[in-house]
Amino acid sequence: MIKKGILLLLLVGFVAVIGSLLINFTGSKELNPLARYYAENGPAEVGAANLVTAVVVTYRGFDTLGEVTILFIAAAIVGFLLKVLNADNGRPNKLRKTSEILETASTLLVPTIFMLGVYIFVNGHLTPGGGFQGGAVIATGVMMIILARPASQFNHKLISILESVSGVGFVAMGVLGLILASGFLNNAFLPLGKLGNLLSAGAIPIIYVFIGIKVGSELTGILNSLKENQNEI
């Protein structure tokens, strides 16, 4: 009872601090100077029609490198915590039977889902999208394969090799930008092209392809180590 009272007091104090921040909030009428610089000079310097892509990959590209590192560490720790303790524990593996609707629908839908994922991260510099969204859609397609055929095994070594190669490729593109153009992850060493074409914006499509493959294989690895016929806890 006393503990509940103290917790309630803590929450009231927190709400008072938040409330004093909220009362004085008025929206802005025009862009602040940093955003104005990005909006005016972004299409000319970077060549991408999507301003958020230009900010994520080129202007604040170092933050994307940090995010890719954090995702890699999280996937590695999940794989390490849930590894197989004992190879055979004498219990028969009971897998549930899947319905026929799911099996038939998955043979039609899975190639479409993979194609949608590849489309989203190849067109990242023209329409809303990019590497992270495309990688998540690809992981959802793999999830549908796991649901429709529970006995399928994914080669864990292949997924790790794919993920490591994409990560090294992303850093290699950044170092190429350092050598051939003026800074790390600068995309001006390939031709900038006309605004709105598919082959424009220098090296941004190649960078996004590497990020998309890396995020997709990482999320597949996390789902793979949580599957039901593996790593009995």
Partner: protein, 124 residues
């Protein structure tokens, strides 16, 4: 009172409400999975607060195509920098939630209980 009824104020209010509900759930619930659910709600609310700071009155999405020309981009477009930060934050939130759930699985393997009051090894 009229300046409280704008879109960005309402969105920030929704975000802060989600933060308070998530924090309350993390403190008072006993089930381990409910604690992780509270953390996920906290993360969603925080992202709504950050995106609501990027909205300019009567603006449109920061993409240059037939609707927004190159020359008038600076006057009709919302702020792209907080949107880029939130893109990163959502993906990292998923990674941390997956990590917390892996820890819940290992804790369940040790003591076979999902109640947080039964893990008293570190109490004084």
């Amino acid at each position: 009172m009229a300046h409280y009824l704008t879109l960005e104020f309402l969105a920030m209010l929704i975000g802060f409400m989600l933060i308070v509900i998530g924090l309350w759930g993390m403190i008072t619930q006993k089930n381990l999975i409910k604690i992780v659910i509270g953390f996920s709600l906290f993360d969603t609310g925080l992202n709504i607060v950050i995106v609501s700071m990027a909205y300019i009155k009567n603006s449109t999405a920061p993409i240059i195509d037939k609707a927004v020309d190159v020359s008038q981009a600076a006057s009709k477009v919302a702020d792209p920098v907080p949107q880029a930060l939130v893109l990163t934050s959502i993906v990292i939130g998923l990674g941390v939630t997956a990590l917390m759930l892996a820890y819940v699985l290992r804790m369940y393997r040790e003591k076979k209980s999902l109640d947080i009051n039964s893990y008293t090894d570190l109490k004084w």
